[in-house]
Amino acid sequence: MRSLKISIQQEDFSIDDECAAMRAGHQDIGALATFTGLVREQDDEKSPGDKVTSLYLEHYPGMTEKKLQEIAEQADQRWPLLDVVIIHRIGELKLSEQIVFVAVSSMHREAAFAACAFIMDFLKTQAPFWKKSKSREHEHWVEAKQSDNKAAEKWADGRDKS
């Protein structure tokens, strides 16, 4: 990994700016894969008829950055990566807002696609963030999903290889 940028921030980010910064001055990048997580419209699972209007993101300052660094380093051990950017927002995020951004550059696409997915699967199951879902009437802490754990597990035994 030539460079790793990790940022936990309240402010929004610009995908264009981040990609431009990753590409600037580098002619060896053949592939740049990105993922953006957004706040989507959904029913409030604890309050029928109510829709989620915002999420509140909390994190463990210090451990979050450390864990994201570990995850990026694990990805770097598995695939030949050039640059990695991980941005995760915190605080109150409204519908359709950007929550998280992962970008990976490499010479060829296999590494970029795979590492991007790997980093997201492990961010979801290991990075110390917690989401609170707010609707008009209620708020409650979102519960961790089994499907996220399964997604992370598939990297352990090569099931990610199709």
Binding site: M63, K124, P128, W130, E143
Partner: protein, 84 residues
Amino acid sequence: MTTIHYFASIREKLGLASEELELPAQVDTVSALVELLVEQHGSQWEEVLNSTSVLVAVNQSVAKFASSVKDGDEIAFFPPVTGG
């Protein structure tokens, strides 16, 4: 001085975000620390901290209730994570 952080729903149930205390030498595991916290704060803390879904980190690395702790460590209790 040991710092203890409580996050998310655990913080809300306990009504405390963090605290500092001196760990006596005999409190040398996370489990022993939980016993100390229950003694200090009351039995309602027992139900919250001993719930099966509570996770713990010692010095910002995921640990277990059997893991060692010593005075000066940073310890955090939190629910399963839900970022991304």
